[in-house]
Amino acid sequence: MNAIEIKNLTKSFPGFTLNNLNLTLPGGCILGLIGENGAGKSTTIKLILDIIHKDSGSITILGRDNTKNILLTKEEVGVVMDEIGLPECLTAKQIGNVMAHTFRNWDTSTYQALVQRMDLPEKKPFKDYSRGMKMKLGIAIALSHHCKLLLLDEATSGLDPVVRDDVVEMLSEFTRDESHSILISSHIVSDLEKLCDYIAFLHKGKLLLWEEKDVLLAEYGVIHCTSEQLQSIAPEAIKHKKESPYGVEALVLRSRVPSDLHISPISIEELFVYMVKEAR
């Protein structure tokens, strides 16, 4: 079963349109949704949860249409947004009490264990938390009601490397269960790249690409060569090139490059930059 299935989704605001989006997150997998700020990542996540309403298309989440029984779906989804909007004066303990009366499947002992493991002060008001601590508490809440799907919207941006590492560890633990899936949206993937099974690129409300990560890495590569050498490659195999007086750097389809040229592996982030520039 797919955790999320988006078909022909369209939503227009003044000045922005999410255009005919098709996106799938297979169950048990992690999808990295990558796009610049304003590309439509948050809009997509809000549409998935029916916080904002689609103009057309269909969204299926955990096997249910998202306009039907969304409350039940929200019970099974953990959401961590860019900014954790918890009341500033509440402590972690009070927030736990509130959530215990919010989620049917709230697990107090899991929550307490997570709060402790992440060194979050139980009695400090939320407003005195650092950004990293706020994010960790947000994730702790998302992981304490036995959810099946995690939606992370820019949840790791602006965190220091140590906290990011903690987050990566929690996420990889979460997907140990094969019924658990994650959608991570971000403008930067870096350390999360390893975790992702699928990658999608969003640019100005349009999906540029959706593919299994390993396929992408196997399919694309970067070559550094002279412009004469570049001419030996079929033009359709060159996806993007950067020319300087001293040589060319080009994004290529590995399979179409003559074997005498050395191809370097590409990171998802580099691939994204190339593709966005190509799409401009």
Partner: protein
């Protein structure tokens, strides 16, 4: 079993897992019928994609190094002499490929290559 993932090497991660498990099977470090970690467990411990891990296991299974018992797990397959031979042959072919590529880059002729190989063989005898 140990698996060391190097993110900075150009080798794809699935390939690193694949070749490390394989070499440990061939060397006998991993014994016949020994149980391997589950795909999800390994992915979690290495903090990598589930699909990446699955791909490495699939590849190993396809080549007969592993076998899967549904709902139980993956096990090291009994060693197959024929398989190992094929494996080695494939390695030799890869190396020859490599040689041909290098030769092409400095315009060696067919005869040059053959004579180089013959020369090397004489040296070993």
């Amino acid at each position: 079993m140990h698996i060391l993932i190097d993110n900075k090497s150009g080798t794809p991660i699935y390939d690193q897992i694949y070749s490390q498990i394989k070499s440990q099977i061939i060397s006998g470090e991993l014994q016949e019928n020994e149980m391997l970690p589950s795909i999800r467990g390994l992915a979690k411990d290495l903090r990598i994609s589930f699909i990446t891990t699955k791909r490495a296991y699939d590849e190993l299974e396809k080549e007969g190094f592993l076998y899967t018992i549904p709902a139980k797990g993956c096990y090291v397959a009994p060693k197959n002499v024929e398989l190992l031979r094929e494996e080695t042959l494939k390695k030799i072919e890869d190396h020859i490929d490599q040689i041909l590529k290098l030769a092409a880059s400095c315009n060696l002729s067919k005869d040059d290559i053959v004579s180089m190989i013959l020369f090397a063989m004489e040296g070993q005898e």
